[in-house]
């Protein structure tokens, strides 16, 4: 599947991620496609990660977990979240083609993050869904 994102769309995506997530304490957020390509990436300036490896692994991880879901008879899992001692990572699918990955510390509760991510996803869908019908 090929898609094209214009500068305006990318700017809108970054605005949403900045306002909804980064400004609410999320450390790092990236929007990728299911092949692990990075569409947008923002962080709070504190720590730099190897986002290219992260993106590839995240896509692989999500793909592997989706395969596991099918094996156990589920269509998909509604929550994919890994908890660390200091850093946590949350995955959210946007349509069938994109993934929103958020990395956050323990100062944000998962419940709150999920609310914010859900809000962001709704807004991002309006930008991304039209791409899929091309």
């Amino acid at each position: 599947m090929s898609y094209t994102l214009g500068q305006k769309q990318l700017d809108s995506i970054e605005d949403i991620l900045q306002q909804d997530l980064i400004e609410n304490g999320v450390r790092c957020v990236f929007l990728i496609d299911m092949a692990g390509n990075i569409i947008a990436n923002l962080d709070n300036g504190e720590k730099q990660h190897d986002i290219y490896s992260l993106a590839a692994l995240a896509a692989g991880n999500f793909g592997a977990v989706s395969a596991m879901a099918k094996i156990i008879g589920e269509n998909e899992f509604s929550l994919l979240f890994h908890k660390g001692k200091k850093e946590n990572i949350h995955f959210n699918k946007i349509t069938t083609e994109f993934l929103l990955i958020t990395i956050f510390g323990n100062d944000i509760s998962l419940g709150f993050l999920r609310l914010k991510v859900a809000d962001s996803v709704e807004q991002l869908k309006t930008i991304l869904e039209p791409l899929l019908s091309l």
Binding site: M1, S53, A56, L57, A59, G60
Partner: protein
């Protein structure tokens, strides 16, 4: 590292098909899976992109039965070949016991073969493993393209590029047609199991 269960008398062997992108690693497994479905009772797992490129790995497990009192279970994996998936490749290589290096015989892929082999060496070193010690078979895939007039690298050149130092068993093959796919598989399994047995002693 082979997983040995002394209680159940079981050995699990991990064999990884490695090589440049679009070289035929997944096709190898797909051929094996299709051909022996009635004898291999397990499903093949693939984690791939919408464009059919391997994203994480392909996985095909099967049982080859009891050898020397141990039930030997083979796990075949492929890695994603595209350059950008190096972190994933490294992950899949963890605990590998034997490797099939699937080289692309097309002339235009010469450099990719060499880079991929070098990449394999580096990723193995990450786990303190040496490409010179691990059981390995080299497959020169896409031999069938010769009939279509596509320029292929001569065997001597492939051997020089990829096998001059390693000196491993190598086979011309066509994963699409199945030529030497099973031969490659049999060779790597026997080499790997023999190697594990030696390590166990």
């Amino acid at each position: 590292m082979a997983f040995v269960n002394l209680k159940n008398k079981e050995i699990q062997v991990k064999i990884v098909y490695y090589g440049p992108g679009r070289g035929g690693k997944t096709t190898n497994l797909e051929y094996i899976y299709k051909k022996f479905r009635n004898r291999i009772n397990t499903e093949m797992v693939t984690v791939k992109t919408h464009g059919d490129r391997t994203l994480f790995f392909d996985f095909l497990p099967f049982d080859i039965g009891v050898i020397n009192g141990y039930d030997v279970k083979i796990q075949l994996y492929t890695v994603p070949g595209q350059v950008k998936y190096n972190a994933t490749r490294r992950l899949v290589l963890r605990g590998v016991d034997g490797i099939v290096f699937v080289a692309d015989s097309m002339a235009v892929r010469r450099e990719k073969n060499v880079l991929s082999l070098k990449n394999l060496q580096e990723n193995l070193a990450n786990y303190k493993k040496s490409i010179f010690r691990i059981p390995c078979v080299i497959q020169y895939n896409k031999a069938d393209l010769f009939e279509q007039g596509i320029p292929l690298l001569p065997i001597e050149l492939l051997e020089k590029d990829l096998n001059s130092q390693l000196k491993r068993p190598s086979f011309k093959a066509s994963a699409l047609k199945g030529t030497n796919v099973v031969t490659t598989l049999k060779k790597i399994i026997s080499m790997t199991v023999a190697s594990i047995k030696r390590d166990l002693k």
